[in-house]
Symmetry: C2
Subunit: 401 residues, 2 copies
């Protein structure tokens, strides 16, 4: 079996932890797998390096920033190779360049364009454990690039895809994906298997285990992803294609997002194209609109409600200024929360959404907005009921059983 | 004028100091020179990184060690480029690879074999200040190598040579080369100009401003070297060809080496080839013999005295065991010091050595061994008179005037 593993910054936090990672890899290697291991920088190091680059100017040249930032993973990859060699294994570290990771030239947030696996494959054939510096690549001019937040996960998934690996294991300080946030609902259960699509919905709603870019890439390449902890031996959560999941729960999890703001445009002139105009203006201002609900108003007017991240509300207000003449009133509500139930089982079951509405009604929680997709129902409620709503929904779908 | 500058680890010690270096470079650039700047890692960083690699084993794979160690200079070179760009200059950082520095494959102590200056030259033509990560290169397989102690100086001198630069300035925390150690003789004077050969003799005797490899390379390429401080605006010391030095002092400096041991082999059988056998045995044990003096003994026997570094005495004793049968007695004296006077002017002046002997005699200092070259007289004396001898010689040759 060919396994790609990725160890995050906390797992690689110091030499002792790197030795611990080496011990885990050794166990895996003794099962006779081919192994590629992708590593992050020691936790904190990337932040320190970013701090250095910002000392001189708030806008350092991204090319130079990448030269600085890419150092962290070079160091940890070589240290891990040293630890593995010392344990008697054949091991070798590769920079992004040596691993054949070709990206575009958008420094500090480059996208992987191709992976030349020739050298990687020849090392695997010689039975090397190949340790790859994550988060980095080179562009077509040979300039070092970095991949932005979650970049090491991306490196791992992309390498797994290019090598047609059997499995990609993402090791972090979290032991998997839960039915909901265990800090809110102590009966939250770890999910054994979940589909890529469900994971995408959960990740976009604050389950920060994996970034969407990584899950999307794994889905595209059809690589089973496992997310688990490097500090325990608990089984993690496998993220895979729907068809690979035998027993599909109707609802897999409950997600909560408290970082949204609701904008209500009341009494919008109901002329053709007005919604398009508004949302084009928002897009041009780089504002990420999430939910959109349009309802019929009085006197040929309409009401338009939408949500966006709290951090973008000031830009949004500026962009909306142009539409004041078309609208009776614009209200902004920061005290909201979005709770969502996610599950591919919904597609083939009826009554899933109504069960959610009933659960919230039973607690006297008023629903301000509803938005549904094939595998998700999202509801905007008053912020103060957020945790109560999560617990009610978690119990209503028997996720604690 | 094309100037190559090199800034050491103390000069690049933190962001504030890097900004200070950028300010110095700016002054130079405004004089309309073409500039290549070679940098070391922040002081202490390389030691920390070495410590990491030794955590796992005392003998980490040198290839992996180089992957780790080369990171320090990548970081400082990019930070300096950021600082310079922020001041409005065109600046770009280059790793050893990008700078075209090709080395052999002896990791952790590679030797520069060639420099492909194509890219460097094209950047200089575009008027970039080119900041090069010192201490590193790549071998013919594209593997990162490091150059060992003093490696950044070597990078600077080699680049200066390959570009046929007009000047190579080495910035450290020391403001130049002195007539002797100012901690011993407070009247020591900074030397304005000194020849490569004198510098080589002084450096090998403990004036740690520059390593011999760098001076030898500068001599070979005929690049004038200036060593000066990055913390003051004092003129430093220029190291150049003898012919470029107008007024040549008879004696340029007094050097002291307290890290030698004297071995006296008394009553050596005076058969042909015995000395060759002894010193071949020492060479095979990698022991650096410094001075050798042979004197005629009694009864067809001879006395052989030599000095070697204190750190190598145990290996030397083992190597000498084979010769016990050929010798009456072997004495080891650790309480010695070697004082030397250095000066190219000696070649054309007589009486230089006798002046030294008289100076020591006047202080009742007994000379145990003498060794002379064209530009140097070295004397081994009792360790306790070392500083007194330095001061006497310094004054005898009027170096304090």
């Amino acid at each position: 079996m060919l396994v790609v593993q990725k160890y995050g910054g906390t797992s690689m936090g110091d030499c002792e932890r790197i030795q611990n990672v080496a011990n885990r890899i050794a166990m895996r290697k003794k099962e006779n797998h081919h192994l590629v291991v992708v590593v992050s920088a020691m936790s904190g190091v990337t932040d320190t390096l970013v701090g250095y680059t910002k000392y001189f100017t708030q806008l350092p040249n991204p090319r130079e920033v990448d030269m600085v930032l890419s150092s962290g993973e070079r160091i940890t990859s070589a240290l891990l190779a040293i630890a593995l060699e010392n344990m008697g294994f054949k091991a070798i570290s590769l920079s992004g360049r040596k691993a054949g990771i070709l990206t575009d030239s958008i420094h500090t947030k480059a996208r992987i364009e191709d992976i030349d696996t020739t050298y990687l494959k020849s090392l695997l054939e010689q039975d090397y454990i190949v340790v790859v510096a994550g988060f980095q690549g080179v562009d077509k001019n040979g300039e070092v690039t970095t991949l932005g937040r979650g970049g090491s996960d991306l490196s791992a998934v992309a390498i797994a895809g290019a090598l047609q690996a059997d499995l990609c294991e993402i090791y972090t300080d979290v032991d998997g994906v839960y039915t909901t946030d265990p800090r809110i609902e102590k009966n939250a259960k770890k999910i054994h298997k979940i589909s890529y699509d469900e994971m995408l919905e959960l990740a976009s709603m604050g389950a920060k285990v994996l970034l969407n870019r990584s899950v999307e890439l794994a889905k595209k390449w059809n690589i089973p992803l496992v997310t688990r902890s490097s500090f325990t031996y608990d089984e993690g959560t496998m993220i895979t294609h729907e068809e690979n999941i035998m027993e599909q729960a109707v609802v897999s999890g409950v997600a909560l997002d408290k970082n949204q703001v609701r904008v209500s445009m009341v009494g919008v002139s109901d002329r053709p194209g007005i919604a398009a105009e508004i949302f084009t203006a928002m897009a041009n201002a780089n504002i990420n609109i999430d939910m959109i609900v349009q309802t019929i108003g009085r006197d040929g007017k309409t009401n338009l409600d939408f949500t966006l991240p709290q951090s973008e509300i000031e830009e949004a207000k500026i962009a909306l200024k142009d539409f004041e003449k078309d609208v009776e009133n614009i209200e902004v509500d920061c005290n909201i929360a979005k709770v969502s139930i996610v599950g591919v089982g919904m597609k083939s079951h009826s009554g899933v959404a109504s069960c959610a509405f009933s659960a919230l009604a039973k607690e006297n929680i008023n629903i301000m907005m509803i938005s549904t997709s094939e595998i998700k129902v999202s509801m905007v409620i008053d912020n103060k009921y957020a945790e109560l709503a999560v617990r009610s929904l978690h119990s209503a779908y028997n996720l604690d059983k």
